[in-house]
C-alpha cells in the first residue's frame, strides 16, 4: 500500500469500503437485536405463567383458573396424525424422484410443484381442507386439522428425502444390485439405511414447521374448551388457543397466551436443534 499514485482516488475507495462495512455490521446488529428482543420478551413474559397447572388443567373461562392441557394434547394428537399421514406419502414420493425416476419428466414437474407447495400460504391450505372435508362432512373436526397439517408436512419430507437419497453414493446401489437384489430391496435395505439420519431430519423439520402453524387449523380443527379423544369433533390446539387468548381482553387469558407461545417456541427450537444435530452426522460423503 505504499504511496498509491492517486491519493484522492485511493482515499475515496477506502472511504467507500469503510461505509459499506459499517452499514453491513450495522445491519447485522440491527437484525439480530430485533430477533433477540423478541426472544427475550417471550421468555420474560412466558416464564411468569409457567406452573404445573399449565400442564394439568383445561383452558379456563375468563377469570377462572386453568391451564393449557387440552390445547397441548390437541396439538400433540393432530401433529402425530399429520406425521403418520404425511410422512409415508412424502418418503415414497421422494423415493420415486431419487430412485426410479431420477431423470424423468414427472420428477422435474413434481419437484417444481413441490417447491411451490413448500412455501404456499398455509391459510390457503386451510381453505382447501375446509372445502374438502369440513364442508362435505358438515362439521369441523380434528381429522380435518390433521389433514391440513399433513399437507404441510408432505412437501418438507419430499424435499429432504429426495435430497438425502441423492447423496447416497451410486456405488452402494451398484454393489447390492450386483449381488442380485432387485431395485426395491436395494432401496429399502441400502439406500434408506444410508439416508436414514437425513430423512429423519426432514421429518423433524416438518414437525417443527407444523408445531406453530395456526392458519390452517383456524377453520379445520377450530377449537374446543375441553379435551376429547374424538377425532371427529373439533379439537383445541396451542397456536389457535394462543391466537384466541391473545386477542381477548382478559389478562389471565393473555398470560396463558404468552405461556403457550413460549412452549411452542421452545418446542420448535428444540426440534430444529435436534434435527441439526442429526443432520451433522449423516451419510459419510
Amino acid at each position: 500500500m505504499s504511496a498509491p499514485k492517486n491519493n484522492a482516488r485511493y482515499a475515496s475507495r477506502r472511504r467507500g469500503n469503510f461505509i459499506a462495512t459499517v452499514l453491513s455490521v450495522g445491519a447485522a446488529c440491527f437484525g439480530l437485536t430485533w430477533l433477540l428482543l423478541i426472544l427475550t420478551v417471550l421468555v420474560v413474559k412466558g416464564v411468569g405463567g409457567l406452573s404445573p397447572s399449565v400442564f394439568s388443567e383445561m383452558t379456563p373461562p375468563p377469570g377462572g383458573e386453568g391451564g393449557l392441557l387440552n390445547p397441548i394434547m390437541g396439538s400433540l394428537i393432530m401433529t402425530i396424525m399429520a406425521v403418520l399421514i404425511g410422512t409415508p406419502l412424502g418418503i415414497m414420493a421422494g423415493t420415486y424422484m431419487a430412485e426410479y425416476g431420477r431423470y424423468s419428466k414427472l420428477t422435474m414437474i413434481v419437484r417444481f410443484i413441490n417447491d411451490i407447495l413448500l412455501s404456499a400460504p398455509s391459510i390457503v391450505i386451510g381453505l382447501f381442507v375446509y372445502e374438502l372435508m369440513v364442508a362435505t362432512m358438515g362439521h369441523f373436526s380434528a381429522w380435518a386439522g390433521a389433514v391440513a397439517l399433513a399437507i404441510i408436512v408432505i412437501p418438507v419430507v419430499v424435499r429432504t428425502t429426495e435430497d438425502m437419497l441423492l447423496l447416497v453414493p451410486n456405488t452402494l446401489r451398484e454393489a447390492s444390485a450386483a449381488l442380485g437384489l432387485p431395485q426395491w430391496l436395494v432401496i429399502r435395505h441400502v439406500a434408506y439405511r444410508a439416508a436414514r439420519a437425513g430423512i429423519t431430519t426432514g421429518v423433524l423439520l416438518a414437525v417443527a414447521r407444523i408445531t406453530g402453524e395456526t392458519a390452517p387449523l383456524l377453520f379445520t380443527a377450530l377449537n374446543n374448551q375441553f379435551f376429547s379423544w374424538d377425532l371427529n369433533a373439533p379439537m383445541a390446539s396451542l397456536p389457535v388457543v394462543i391466537f384466541q387468548f391473545a386477542l381477548s381482553p382478559y389478562e389471565d387469558w393473555q398470560q396463558l397466551a404468552w405461556t403457550g407461545a413460549l412452549l411452542v417456541t421452545a418446542a420448535v427450537l428444540a426440534l430444529s436443534i435436534l434435527a441439526r444435530m442429526l443432520a451433522s452426522k449423516r451419510v459419510p460423503s
Partner: protein, 332 residues
C-alpha cells in the same frame, strides 16, 4: 442403470430350481408394486396442488357470479348488504409486503455480506445457525409480540415523531398522517420485515457461498477493497439467486397470516395514510371465515384465497426458476 438392476434372466429352470423361480417372481412383483406405489405418491403431490386450485375455484364461484371482475375494483366489504370487493385487501397485502421488502431486503443483504465477508470465522458458524433457527420461529410469535410490545411502543414513541417529522413535507404528510393507533398497515409491514429477515438472510448467505473462492481471491489479488469485491464480483455473480431469494421472501410475506392479523386493524378501507388500520387477504380470511354467514360471504372469502394463491404461485414459481438457474450454474 435400470438394466443392471433387473434380476438376471432365468436359465432353464429345472425342478430343483422351483423355489428359486418363485423367489425371482416375488422379487419382480415386489419391484413393480413398490415402483407403482412411489410413483402414485409422487403424483399425489401434483393432485394436491390441482385439488387446492379446483376447490378454491369451485368454492368461490358464487362470488364471481355475483360480482364478476368488479370484485377486484370494489372497495366495499359489507356483510349486511352482501356487497363484497377485494380491493382493500389486495391493497393491504401488496402494501405491507412492499414495506417488508423495502426494509427487509437491504438489511438481509447487509447481514449476509457481514456473515460471508466480514465476520470472524469462529463466529460465522454460530451466527449462521442462530439465523436459521430464527427463520423457523412460528409466525404467531411475531404476531403476539407485535400486538403487545411493538404496537404500544410504536404508538407512543415512533408514530408521533414520524407524524411531526413529515408534517410539512408535501407527499409524506399524507402517508404519515395521524392519529397514531399503534396498529395498522405500517406496523404490519414492519413486523413482516422482521419476520422475513432471517428467512431471506439464510437464502442469500447460501447463494453467496456458491461464488467460487478463486474469483474473490483474484479480485482481492489485484487490490480490490472488500466492498469492491462484494459489489463487482459477489453480487453480479449471484444476482439471479439473490432475486430468487428475495422473491421467496416476498412469497412468504404475501401469504403470511398470523404475524399480520394481530396488528393490521381489520378495516376494509383504503386510507391515504399508511399508518391507518387496513387489512390483508390472509388477515381477512383468518378473522372472518368462521363467522361468515351466507353463501356469498363465504364464497367471497374463498375468492380472496384464490387471488392470494394465484399471486403467490406466480411469485414463487418465478423465484424457483431463478434459484434453479443459479443452482445449475453452481453445479458446473
Amino acid at each position: 442403470m435400470d438394466m443392471a438392476l433387473q434380476p438376471a434372466p432365468l436359465p432353464g429352470i429345472a425342478t430343483g430350481d422351483a423355489s428359486r423361480a418363485r423367489a425371482l417372481r416375488r422379487f419382480n412383483v415386489g419391484d413393480r408394486t413398490f415402483k407403482t406405489l412411489t410413483q402414485v405418491s409422487a403424483i399425489t403431490v401434483l393432485v394436491i396442488l390441482a385439488g387446492v386450485m379446483i376447490s378454491l375455484v369451485r368454492g368461490s364461484l358464487p362470488a364471481w357470479q355475483a360480482f364478476g371482475l368488479d370484485f377486484f375494483t370494489t372497495q366495499s366489504w359489507n356483510p349486511v348488504t352482501e356487497k363484497f370487493g377485494a380491493l382493500p385487501a389486495i391493497y393491504g397485502t401488496l402494501l405491507t409486503s412492499f414495506i417488508a421488502m423495502l426494509i427487509g431486503v437491504p438489511v438481509s443483504l447487509g447481514i449476509a455480506v457481514f456473515l460471508t465477508e466480514i465476520c470472524p470465522e469462529r463466529l460465522r458458524r454460530s451466527i449462521g445457525i442462530a439465523i436459521e433457527l430464527l427463520a423457523g420461529i412460528p409466525s404467531i410469535i411475531y404476531g403476539i409480540w407485535g400486538l403487545f410490545i411493538f404496537a404500544p411502543f410504536f404508538q407512543t414513541h415512533l408514530q408521533p415523531a414520524l407524524i411531526d417529522l413529515f408534517a410539512n413535507v408535501p407527499v409524506l404528510n399524507q402517508l404519515f398522517a395521524g392519529p397514531p393507533y399503534g396498529i395498522g398497515l405500517l406496523t404490519a409491514g414492519l413486523i413482516l420485515a422482521i419476520m422475513v429477515l432471517p428467512f431471506i438472510t439464510s437464502i442469500i448467505r447460501e447463494v453467496f457461498e456458491t461464488v467460487p473462492p478463486v474469483l474473490k481471491e483474484a479480485a482481492y489479488g489485484i487490490g480490490c477493497t472488500r466492498w469492491e469485491v462484494v459489489r463487482r464480483v459477489v453480487i453480479p455473480y449471484t444476482r439471479v439467486g439473490i432475486i430468487g431469494g428475495v422473491m421467496l421472501g416476498l412469497g412468504r410475506a404475501l401469504g403470511e397470516t398470523m404475524a399480520v392479523t394481530f396488528v393490521i386493524g381489520n378495516a376494509h378501507r383504503i386510507m391515504p395514510s399508511i399508518m391507518a388500520p387496513g387489512t390483508t387477504i390472509s388477515a381477512t380470511i383468518a378473522n372472518e371465515f368462521t363467522e361468515a354467514t351466507g353463501d356469498i360471504y363465504t364464497a367471497s372469502l374463498v375468492a380472496l384465497g384464490l387471488i392470494l394463491f394465484l399471486i403467490t404461485f406466480i411469485v414463487l414459481a418465478a423465484a424457483r426458476l431463478m434459484l434453479m438457474r443459479i443452482e445449475r450454474k453452481a453445479g458446473k
